[in-house]
């Protein structure tokens, strides 16, 4: 009876979510549709839900509602088409409308090696090479015996084949490529003697994976999928479905499909600049158990025994994210003084007050708090993740700020960390030194803002900042950061063109292109590389393709110095005019008047609203502001 009751409720909830999703799709509310798709996938993860999302979005009556078209090539040693429904559905939940290119299982080698294969006929946004270890190297999996094992040859062959494939792929395609690493065999031939013997399979797989990582790091935009981590997370016995392996040439279980599709999405988000940057947390029953206002400093649950221990674990995970560059903020309904006391006095607090760049502790609506945090930190709401244990707060944020990613914590605090980490919202394909420094940078920014308030005049403020600008051409050293800037910068970005490392590398080999990254050091510290310029010479015009500046140094006239630098370069390559372009987006109002402010004349306006600007740099070049020191590398 009880069971029937719950199952009825659950069916009702599913029907409601489906209806809501379908309605948002029909009415073209992308962000709300995405929220409902995520709820359906979270609460009713199943092949049925994948199919449902796919059918609604692909239905003929649906007009374009703003999903980003995205082409994925699937290359595999198995029948990877059985993953399409899941991938498509997860794509929708991430704002993507995925179109697949796919060949028969096992044809991946021919497909990559043949320059006129279908793989290269259209540009792909992403290529996935999903090969099971057993299919690459049967001799070290199912066919492993101690008779046959010439381990050195196996390694050499693997290296040779992989190098050949990567080399060809890179010369025929600019698409980023994901390659699975090799999972460990579930049962090793040597059994309990494995590891004590050089002939062990485990060691061999480990070495081959190291080799794979090393080879991929030599090519731009080649990334390893940590497949063996996924298999071990789910557990090998649940990951594989041996019935399907033999019957359908598809070795994965339904659970594995979901996990793997989710993993691919982390790469898509990162490559598209959709990775989240800021984590906003609630306090009561989130960072600690209990309600501070009622239980008091001594009464909240945070300490060595359960449930306090679970909250400590959760704080540790948040601190870990912070250490790799995630900005932290608080949105809590509490008395600020009580909260300050916890941070100052509670001996079990892992997170410090200074780890948080924004602190919204009061009794106003959280929707307002989130907006204020976004404004203060200069971070788009779509780059924010909001975590709360209260379903009502979560629902309000979903409804009023659908671009925010919302995590409703489960009732059990020991499950908080998984809820926070499972989607990999903050994951990026690479972690740069800038990422690691970022949190500190945002604190510096807050200090610089405070200085601006005390400096009486703006020029005095600029001088007080004691800024040094470093201009360097893009090179292997800073390529990853340059690509990352194009992918992540939204506000002060004149054209918002997203580039992969591969695409920027093409510019480096072309003498018509001029590239420069800009680093800024001020009296509060080194901000790292914060600006990028890409321009190309056409006859006597230097055309600015990309001009962007990270929001953390906006408002310091760095852009003026960058334009002055371009004028100087224009002179040295005999270009008479500098041509700027503004492609308006929702995010980039701060950059729109860039060229106008610096004396460029409006040349013409395109049909899609983009405008072109012209400056004669022989007669009216932009001058360097007097308050900067410069380092110019050639």
């Amino acid at each position: 009876m009880n069971e029937a009751h719950t199952s009825n409720q659950s069916a009702k909830r599913e029907a409601q979510l489906r209806e809501a999703f379908s309605l948002q799709v029909q009415t073209g509310n992308r962000d709300h549709a995405i929220q409902f798709a995520r709820l359906l996938l979270k609460e009713f993860a199943s092949a049925k839900t994948y199919r449902y999302l796919g059918k609604v979005v692909s239905s003929e009556s649906v007009v374009d509602f703003g999903l980003k078209p995205y082409r994925i090539a699937l290359l595999s040693s198995f029948s990877i088409e059985f993953m399409k429904d899941a991938l498509f559905a997860l794509g929708v939940a991430n704002g993507l409308l995925i179109d697949f290119y796919q060949t028969g299982f096992g044809a991946f080698r021919q497909e990559i090696l043949n320059p006129s294969s279908g793989l290269y006929q259209k540009p792909m946004d992403l290529t996935i090479l999903a090969v099971e270890g057993e299919d690459w190297l049967p001799e070290i999996y199912g066919r492993y015996t101690l008779y046959s094992s010439n381990l050195i040859t196996i390694k050499e062959n693997f290296k040779h084949e992989l190098t050949g494939l990567l080399e060809k792929f890179r010369s025929y395609s600019h698409s980023p490529i994901l390659i699975h690493d090799l999972a460990q065999p579930l049962y090793c031939l040597l059994g309990i003697a494995e590891g004590s013997n050089q002939l062990g399979q485990r060691e061999l797989v480990h070495d081959l994976n190291k080799l794979l990582h090393e080879l991929c790091s030599r090519y731009s935009d080649a990334f390893v999928v940590n497949y063996q981590t996924l298999v071990s997370r789910v557990g090998g016995n649940h990951w594989y479905d041996l019935r399907m392996k033999h019957y359908a040439r598809f070795p994965l279980s339904q659970e594995a499909i979901g996990e793997l599709a989710r993993e691919y999405m982390k790469y898509c988000r990162s490559l598209l600049g959709y990775s989240k940057k800021c984590l906003v947390v609630d306090l009561d029953n989130t960072l600690w158990g209990g309600v501070l206002g009622e239980d008091g400093l001594e009464g909240i649950k945070l300490g060595p025994t359960y449930p306090g221990s679970a909250f400590i674990d959760f704080q540790q995970q948040i601190l870990g994210l912070h250490s790799r560059g995630v900005i932290l903020a608080v949105a809590s309904k509490n008395n600020q003084q009580d909260v300050e006391e916890v941070f100052a006095k509670h001996s079990s607090m892992i997170l410090r007050r200074t780890d948080f760049s924004a602190f919204e502790v009061h009794w106003n609506a959280k929707v307002e708090s989130l907006k204020h945090i976004a404004y203060q930190l200069n971070i788009g709401l779509e780059h924010m993740v909001f975590v709360d244990d209260n379903p009502v707060e979560c629902e309000q944020v979903r409804m009023h700020l659908p671009m925010v990613t919302v995590i409703l914590l489960p009732p059990q605090p020991e499950q908080y960390s998984q809820a926070l980490l499972e989607e990999g919202w903050f994951d990026t394909v690479s972690i740069s030194t800038e990422d690691i420094k970022r949190s500190a940078l945002y604190e510096q920014r807050a200090q610089a803002e405070a200085l601006r308030e005390t400096s009486t005049d703006l020029e005095g403020f600029y001088r007080d900042l004691d800024m040094t600008l470093d201009f360097s051409p893009v090179s292997a050293k800073n390529l990853a950061r340059a690509a990352q800037l194009t992918q992540k910068t939204n506000q002060f970005n004149a054209t918002t063109r997203r580039y992969t490392e591969g695409e920027i590398t093409k510019c480096l080999h072309d003498p018509a292109w001029i590239t420069a990254v800009v680093s800024v050091t001020d009296r509060f510290g080194d901000n790292g590389i914060v600006g990028l310029m890409l321009a190309h010479l056409a006859e006597q015009e230097l055309i600015i393709d990309t001009f962007l500046l990270s929001c953390r140094v906006i408002g310091r006239t760095v852009e003026t110095a960058m334009l002055a630098y371009l004028c100087e370069i224009a002179g040295s390559v005999n270009a008479k005019e500098l041509i700027g372009e503004i492609i308006p987006t929702q995010k980039n109002p701060p950059v729109r008047d860039l060229f106008e402010r610096h004396g460029f004349a409006l040349d013409n306006t395109g049909e899609t609203g983009n405008s072109y600007w012209r400056l004669n740099c022989e007669t009216s070049k932009v001058e360097y502001p007097a308050w900067f020191k410069f380092i110019k590398n050639q």
Partner: protein
């Protein structure tokens, strides 16, 4: 209860094979139904397993080639 099972199977088949539910009847089989190909057959198996929380063996995969076969097999497992 019995009807419920039949209804659920028809719903699943309709979803996977893209045919209206009321066209699925005692004579529906893979050899007279467009779209019941080997790829959809796998999807159908997975969907039935999901719907009824049951598991089929590979030998059973090969015997589930009509609505009636499926009904019989599912009933036997519930």
């Amino acid at each position: 209860m019995e009807n419920n099972i039949e209804q659920k199977i028809k719903l699943v088949m309709s979803d996977i094979l893209n045919i209206p539910e009321d066209l699925i009847n005692e004579s529906t089989a893979s050899d007279n139904t467009d779209g019941w190909d080997s790829g959809n057959h796998i999807q159908l198996i997975v969907a039935l397993e999901e719907e009824f929380s049951i598991n089929f063996d590979v030998t059973e995969f090969e015997s589930m080639l009509s609505y009636m076969d499926i009904l019989k097999l599912v009933k036997a497992k519930l």
